[in-house]
């Protein structure tokens, strides 16, 4: 169990993190979601010990670890680029942390093989790191982080530099790999789809503040504030003043008995659905429909009230 208590980080006059409190349970994957510059990378640096906080405390397994140096925290880190050590082989890269911990050579070798198996790179131990593909390099980096059996793995947008297909695959593999390694993880990203795909809990960060922490489904269904709703990809925010609501894109169906009349302004065929934009009494809204609707036509829509959530002021 890791605990951040009122962590503040200042660089000169700018505040990168503002009184952030957070707990991370064993085996949990916590995703920090936020735009770039919101302080999420600073949060990782604080957890790793590479960035001492200006104020606040870090507790690990019930003891104060605020001043503990990075190499004694039992963590692994993965960055956006693999940052593999260029002058070493794949195997030597993975064994680096074990060697630092003074693990004997035969155990190192066994563990390297195990990890290569885990990340699906069997037989790569002797290869140089220069000729790996982007995805392979990132998987080696993952194996290297997991080798010393860290209690917490920190992932700093590790898939952002990869192409879509590869990213989707690694994103879907990650929870299983982490689960079999028995490691908790804090994963930082600005991509809400990625966040939903792997998170046990999502924490939304903005401008150095932690806005809300909740399981993905709960968060999506009830974002509570407009800022959070927008980070999660919601675009249909209607109403004003105290009466503001968010309407999910999957909330509408075409129904002649529906109570919303709107004009279709755009329609894009997406294979298994249509993305349409309509303008009606509530302004411009975007929906995901199973049927098509001609641009310029007037349709009646029925809104599922369970897919509408009220918003409070920010």
């Amino acid at each position: 169990m890791w605990e951040l208590r009122d962590i503040t980080v200042q660089f000169g006059t700018t505040t990168a993190m503002h009184e952030v409190s957070l707990t991370i349970s064993p085996n949990e994957i916590l995703v920090i979601l936020g735009p770039s510059g919101c302080g999420k990378s600073t949060l990782l640096r604080v957890l790793s010990g590479l960035q001492p906080p200006t104020a606040g405390e870090i507790w690990i397994e019930g003891s104060d670890a605020t001043a503990r140096p990075p190499h004694q925290r039992g963590i692994g880190v993965m960055f956006q680029d693999p940052t593999l050590f260029p002058h070493r082989s794949v195997g030597q890269n993975i064994a680096f942390g074990l060697r630092m911990a003074g693990v004997d050579a035969s155990t190192q070798r066994r563990r390297v093989d195990e990890l290569l198996e885990l990340v699906d790179l069997h037989g790569f131990a002797e290869r140089g790191v220069e000729n790996l593909s982007g995805g392979e390099a990132q998987r080696v980096a993952l194996a290297r982080s997991l080798a010393p059996e860290p209690s917490l793995l920190l992932l700093d947008e590790p898939f952002a530099a990869l192409d879509r297909t590869l990213r989707d695959r690694l994103v879907s593999d990650l929870p299983e790999v982490l689960d079999s390694a028995g490691t908790a993880a804090v994963h930082v990203t600005h991509d809400h789809d990625e966040a939903f795909a792997i998170a046990d809990r999502v924490a939304v960060m903005s401008d150095g503040h932690l806005l809300r922490t909740a399981p993905p489904a709960e968060l999506f269904a009830d974002p509570r504030t407009e800022t959070v709703a927008r980070f999660l990809g919601h675009t249909n925010i209607v109403g004003d003043g105290r009466d503001r609501r968010v309407i999910r894109r999957d909330a509408a169906t075409i129904d002649p008995a529906g109570d919303m009349e709107a004009t279709v302004t755009a329609s894009v065929f997406r294979g298994d659905h249509h993305d349409i934009a309509v303008v009606g009494a509530l302004g411009e809204l975007r929906f995901r429909l199973t049927e098509s609707a001609a641009v310029g036509s007037v349709v009646r829509l029925r809104i599922d009230p369970t897919r509408v959530a009220p918003l409070s002021g920010d």
Binding site: F11, S48, G49, L50, Q51, P69, P70, H71, R73, I75, G76, V77, F79, D81, T83, F85, P86, H87, F96, G97, M100, A101, R144, S145, P148, L154
Partner: protein, 536 residues
């Protein structure tokens, strides 16, 4: 238009080609011929039989090795400080450490001579004067900048997250440096070490003044044979040995430089981490090493008897008996020669750089290689070559005033080429296209885009050429000293070798004037140069 341009470039290539053929290739070839071909290998064999020569070769080698190791030991911590500073601090630090690098050798030699006198190290329990230690210290002083600049810039560009990664994986600070940082720095350290070794190997003025009569290197031996004993054959044979050794070194250094990996993206610079203790320790060391000799010279130049005054500076206008002209005249000669040499170097160097960048096939390769040679060839070999090759009509340069600027421009041209080539390469074709799309004619593009970029590069290269010319000592030492060819460094050398309090005071005043001129040139360079450009 493309064909026209390449014809134009091929035609223009004639100018630098002829210049270098006459003033560099022919003299150096003459040295080789005199030393190795003319009288067979007999002079060489005689030379190598003498214990004195063998001692000189051996001494040249080991003092260069030791100078290199000492410089690395002192300068690597400095490089670390530069690497971890903010961009602006880096710029200031690099400008500061560059001053010693372009300081005239003879000024540095004079500064250390005075430093030893000032702190009683001339004689007694710790004697530095006329020892190898004096030479080593001066070499560290000179080459500190080479290491700090090349290694520091490269280091700053390393991905700091690589170190973060190692630390998280359980490596402490020292272990991280040894296991992760050092292996990445190794190629650039080797390249810097090769350059330092080359400079120490061909060091002349420092050895001549600080080593005294007993510490002889190949360079000072060539000078002794050629100038003191006028035994041109032995001098040439020794110069041939030197040339071969240097060419081998240059080949090795170039190779190391080629194998140097490209700088990694700088987008992931570490958030600046300052260790106050480390910074203070390094700062003190660097300040002591770099500033103390300079301060001592300034103080001594202002000392008249037991008081401070400007008498030494006033006395510069009076001719002393051992000089063919007054020190003021020598400074004037130096300035005129430096301006002329800079103009020659700028014109020849720019054409040569254009050939290297835009020329075709063989032409470009010949120029690329041919132009680094004067940089590697020791100044002594160049001066000696001109002395023995260009001594009869139609090219009897020895009696002409032009000999000084021409010799100096030979040393300056490589600096112009080396700064211009990357600048010209960087003139981005995309910029041309963008400008053309915006409606600019090719001529307009050249005026609006190319010229401003190129002129900045030229200014940097020319300032280097100027600073080098002002301080040039090795090649000029072979030029007959007359009232119109006496340069300030030559005058300073004579003053330093003359005993006496008054003369020493004047020598220091002259040294201060020279330092001031060079410092101005360095600041011109640094204010023009951007933050992330070439490292020399």
């Amino acid at each position: 238009m493309g064909r026209n341009r390449s014809r134009l470039i091929a035609a223009a290539a004639v100018v630098p080609a002829v210049f270098l053929a006459v003033f560099f290739v022919y003299p150096v070839a003459t040295v080789m011929w005199r030393g190795l071909g003319d009288g067979g290998l007999a002079p060489l064999r005689d030379l190598l039989d003498s214990g004195r020569t063998r001692d000189a070769i051996w001494f040249t080698l080991w003092q260069a090795v030791l100078s290199t190791l000492l410089t690395l030991a002192v300068a690597l911590p400095g490089a670390a400080v530069v690497a971890r500073s903010s961009a602006r601090t880096q710029r200031v630090l690099r400008a500061l450490v560059t001053i010693p690098f372009v300081m005239p050798t003879i000024v540095v030699a004079g500064a250390f001579t005075e430093l030893f006198t000032r702190f009683g190290l001339d004689d007694g329990t710790i004697r530095l004067r006329h020892t190898v230690w004096a030479i080593l210290i001066a070499h560290v002083f000179f080459n500190y900048a080479v290491v700090v600049r090349t290694v520091g810039s490269f280091w700053a560009g390393l991905d700091a997250r690589m170190e973060d990664q190692a630390r998280v994986l359980g490596a402490g600070r020292i272990r991280t440096f040894v296991e992760v940082t050092l292996p990445q720095l190794r190629p650039v350290i080797s390249a810097a070490a090769a350059i330092v070794f080359l400079f120490s190997f061909t060091s002349f003025g420092v050895v001549l003044v600080l080593g005294g009569p007993r510490q002889a290197t190949i360079e000072t031996e060539i000078y002794r044979y050629a100038v003191v004993r006028t035994d041109f054959t032995s001098g040439a044979a020794l110069a041939a040995i030197q040339l071969i050794a240097v060419l081998t070194l240059v080949a090795v250094a170039t190779r190391l430089e080629r194998s140097r990996p490209l700088t990694v993206s700088t987008s992931h610079r570490a958030t600046v981490r300052r260790s106050p203790v480390g910074l203070a320790a390094n700062g003190t060391l660097a300040a002591t090493l770099l500033a103390l000799p300079i301060l001592v010279v300034v103080e001594r130049s202002l000392t008249v008897g037991n008081a401070y005054g400007l008498d030494n500076y006033r006395a510069l206008g009076t001719r002393l008996s051992m000089l063919p002209a007054s020190a003021t005249d020598a400074i004037q000669n130096s300035l005129v020669a430096a301006v002329s040499a800079t103009l020659i170097a700028a014109v020849i160097g720019t054409i040569a750089a254009l050939v290297v960048v835009h020329g075709r096939g063989a032409l470009r390769h010949v120029f690329d290689l041919g132009l680094t040679l004067p940089l590697g060839t020791s100044a002594v070999t160049i001066g000696f070559g001109i002395l023995i090759a260009l001594d009869e009509p139609p090219l009897d340069l020895r009696s002409s005033w032009w000999i000084v600027p021409i010799v100096h421009s030979l040393v300056g041209i490589p600096f112009v080429v080396r700064t211009m080539v990357p600048v010209l390469r960087r003139i981005d074709p995309a910029l041309h296209e963008a400008a053309a799309v915006l409606g600019a004619s090719p001529r307009r593009v050249r005026r609006e885009i190319d010229l401003p970029i190129a002129s900045r590069g030229l200014l940097v290269g020319a300032s280097f050429a100027f600073a080098v010319s002002i301080g040039e000592f090795g090649a000029t030492a072979f030029i007959p000293r007359r009232a119109d060819t006496l340069t300030a460094p030559q005058a300073l050398f004579r003053l330093l070798s003359t005993p006496g309090e008054l003369v020493r005071g004047q020598a220091m005043a002259l040294a201060v004037v020279l330092m001031g001129i060079v410092a101005l040139a360095v600041f011109a360079i640094e204010s023009v140069r951007g933050t992330h450009e070439g490292s020399l």
